[in-house]
Amino acid sequence: DTAVSQTPKYLVTQMGNDKSIKCEQNLGHDTMYWYKQDSKKFLKIMFSYNNKELIINETVPNRFSPKSPDKAHLNLHINSLELGDSAVYFCASSPTAERDSPLHFGNGTRLTVT
């Protein structure tokens, strides 16, 4: 059973389009995250939700809007896609939002904007 699942795995789209990436975790964790991995493999946090409440919102363009309908799901919607949005987006979850709570990652969604 996949603990943290993301869909789709690959997403190819044109500039200006709007797209969504979905994430679900079946671990019963309270906290979920979105990380972006750029072409140099550098991972940077974008958002975090704890029990459906936004607790981290890094400096991310407001074209990116996360939504957490319940604590098992955290979706990412991106409006007006730009070339620079091309990256691998990882969803993750952790039991709590405490510092010592290790993250469990999904397999990533590779987004290519043409």
Binding site: V4, T31, Y33, K40, K41, F42, L43, K44, I45, S48, N50, I55, I56, F90, A92, S94, T96, A97, E98, R99, D100, S101, P102, L103, H104, F105, G106, N107, G108
Partner: protein, 114 residues
């Protein structure tokens, strides 16, 4: 700003060679430290973590890491690598007590030749 540096970007070793990957962080307060591994085509997995106590921590698959507070370092080691250790290795630090936010290094690509 807090940051994590991994000095080796690409390491090539032969099987049975010893491994040490460097990781340094910049933050003067309490930290939790992690090493994650990403095998080809797979998601990031936790290799080991340091929270407190014995600065020498052991993880899965024979890996260990040593926290040296005076050097702000958390280097990863393995006495004898195998071909199956070929992967990306990421060092990460958590400094926030209530958000679970991880700051990642830029990763090290390890290639083990059979």
């Amino acid at each position: 700003a807090q940051s994590v540096s991994q000095h080796n970007h690409h390491v090539i070793l032969s099987e049975a060679a010893s491994l040490e990957l460097g990781c340094n962080y910049s933050y003067g307060g309490t930290v939790n430290l992690f090493w994650y591994v990403q095998y080809p085509g797979q998601h990031l997995q936790l290799l080991l973590k340091y929270f407190s106590g014995d600065p020498l921590v052991k993880g899965i698959k024979g890996f260990e890491a040593e926290f040296i507070k005076s050097k702000f370092s958390f280097n990863l080691r393995k006495p004898s690598v195998q071909w199956s250790d070929t992967a990306e290795y990421f060092c990460a630090v958590s400094i926030s007590s209530n958000t679970g936010k991880l700051i990642f290094g830029q990763g090290t690509t390890l290639q083990v030749k059979p």
